[in-house]
Symmetry: C2
Subunit: 138 residues, 2 copies
């Protein structure tokens, strides 16, 4: 059986520019991508480390109500995202284990089709699954 | 320049047995290691995914004061740990960037010599560096 790949670690930050500077120093390299998702109220920067993507997310203060409901408002390490082949199939398997999908998912996110699960059914661990649009090179 | 390897993602859980069961289902495989660190008041389970280690940590309620000061009491995704060659050298570089080391570090942890940094100097992102005892096979 192929082992699960953790696609990324999601981190909420209050000041994206300051956090980009800090992580660039810490990791020895700048972000691979910066982007905005105005319909989700998010500014995003991604860093590619040797083995995983670190995703920094800053709320823009506009249209970010849904994102805040999902991820909360507190800055810090927020969630882990499991890469899956097919998001609906993954959701079915996960729900069969008693974990509940949050309302409004699956939907398009920063990494293709994504879903988040209710923390009260995962021991308060915020977990996402994502089906990236294109195949990874790994 | 060699890219940084994220050694593990640290997750605080309230019920290690329940979380081991959940993650085993989610990842399709059981933990590679379970251990206790009684002097730190921690029970630990580690899962090896395709690309990163997931570390589940449960406070035992005894001798866990220091660990709770560092990681907080709240369950959820807690910290990221950067693998470094030499912990003291890594701390010097990180401090040169204005990030402050928490009192009491470096010290022996679950992954060799480790250090945590003050979240108020990292934009509230809890970051650890670790110098594993043995060389990684990667």
């Amino acid at each position: 059986m192929t082992k699960t790949h953790i696609d990324h670690i999601g981190i909420i930050v209050d000041d994206l520019e300051a956090s980009i500077k800090m992580f660039s120093g810490l990791l020895g390299d700048g972000p691979s991508t910066t982007k905005e998702m105005p319909d989700m109220g998010l500014k995003i920067a991604e860093f590619e480390t040797a083995n995983i993507t670190i995703e920094l997310l800053q709320y823009t203060g506009s249209n970010d109500g849904f994102a805040k409901e999902i991820m909360g408002e507190k800055s810090g390490v927020n969630h882990i995202s499991l890469r899956v082949e097919e998001v609906s199939e993954a959701i079915s398997k996960i729900e069969a284990a008693g974990i509940e999908t949050m309302a409004g998912f699956p939907r398009g996110g920063a990494h293709g089709q994504v879903a988040f699960f209710k923390p009260e059914t995962t021991g308060n661990v915020l977990i996402e699954v994502c089906q990236p649009d294109s195949h990874s090179t790994e």
